[in-house]
């Protein structure tokens, strides 16, 4: 399929959703995430209480920046015209806190694309939006993201 045909095939995929992502957000996942970032904020670190139990930890909102919630892992499969893919930009809206013990279900939809000419040639700006619900069906966050497909 030529690049031009793939661009046309992309149009037919507008509205397509990716695989549903279900992430159980326990203290271990949160700890691994904040240690990777190097963020010492006590809000995200589980601390033992005096009776030996652990208090419930808030999910750092920027956890939703990670791929498993709103990145390539959640995107639908698309007929990309070119080989190179880069993250372009993203916006996250945090509607209510999420906590350790929550299960977050993320669904990402391909909502459209634009074509542009850049320094390295023709490129396609692929636009996605994602919703992130907790186990009670409450919307905790939304993501808008753009991936760049280029020569």
């Amino acid at each position: 399929m030529s690049s031009k045909d793939k661009v046309e095939a992309l149009r037919a995929k507008i509205g397509m959703e990716g695989k549903i992502g279900i992430i159980e957000c326990g203290n271990f996942l949160i700890r691994r995430f904040v240690e990777a970032v190097g963020d010492p904020n006590p809000l995200w670190h589980d601390e033992p209480a005096l009776d030996g139990t652990y208090r419930r930890t808030m999910l750092p909102p920027f956890l939703f920046c990670s791929s498993m919630f709103s990145g390539a892992a959640t995107y639908p499969e698309l007929p990309l015209p070119y080989e190179r893919i880069l993250d372009g930009e993203a916006e996250w809206e945090f509607l209510q806190p999420a906590w350790s013990g929550d299960t977050i279900t993320s669904v990402t939809k391909f909502i459209g694309f634009e074509q542009r000419e850049g320094k390295s040639g023709h490129m396609i700006m692929l636009n996605f939006e994602a919703t992130h619900h907790n186990q009670r069906g409450e919307l905790v966050a939304k993501t808008q993201a753009t991936l760049i497909n280029l020569q």
Binding site: L29, R32, F33, E35, A36, V37, G38, D39, P40, N41, P42, L43, P60, P61, F62, C65, S66, S67, M68, G71, A72, A73, R84, L86, D87, G88, E89, A90, E91, W92, E93, F94
Partner: protein, 145 residues
């Protein structure tokens, strides 16, 4: 964590305390594992060279998380991060400093919330802006108990 800031403490134009991230390849691997991004561009040198880079590059979303750390650290336990946005403008490499900075663009009250809009960015080698972003934060207000 510093002292809690309040809406009354903020003036438009002031800067947030900045910090420096000196990433390592190990940190990029930890982020790959923690975040689910296994793109070889971030941990396999030959793969990155094959794609035209001199070495592996720092994940854009890790830099977004750095900016998330910057703003949540600044807003304190009583602040709420409502929105955050990032644009990945250029690459950063491990073993080089990434300076994370922010400043207050606007403050206003809307629907009873005391809101602050912030500009965020990372600076790489030579002070080049490699990520630009923004955030909207709700801060506590001293006069409202």
């Amino acid at each position: 964590m510093g002292k809690q800031i309040y809406y009354e403490d903020i003036e438009e134009g002031i800067s947030m305390p900045s910090f420096c991230k000196h990433t390592t390849t190990r940190q990029l691997v930890r982020w790959a594992g923690a975040s689910g991004d296994y793109n070889e561009l971030h941990y396999e040198k030959d793969f990155a060279i094959g794609k035209g880079y001199p070495q592996v590059i720092v994940q854009g979303r890790l830099k977004a998380a750095f900016l998330g750390q910057l703003v949540t650290q600044w807003m304190g336990e009583l602040g709420t991060l409502k929105k955050m946005a990032c644009r990945y403008r250029d690459v950063d490499f491990p073993a080089k400093d990434i300076i994370c900075k922010g400043k207050i663009a606007k403050k206003y009250v809307k629907n009873g919330e005391y809101l602050v809009e912030c500009e965020l960015w990372t600076e790489g080698e030579g002070g080049k802006i490699t990520t630009s972003g923004s955030a909207i934060v709700s801060l506590p207000c001293k006069k409202v108990k």
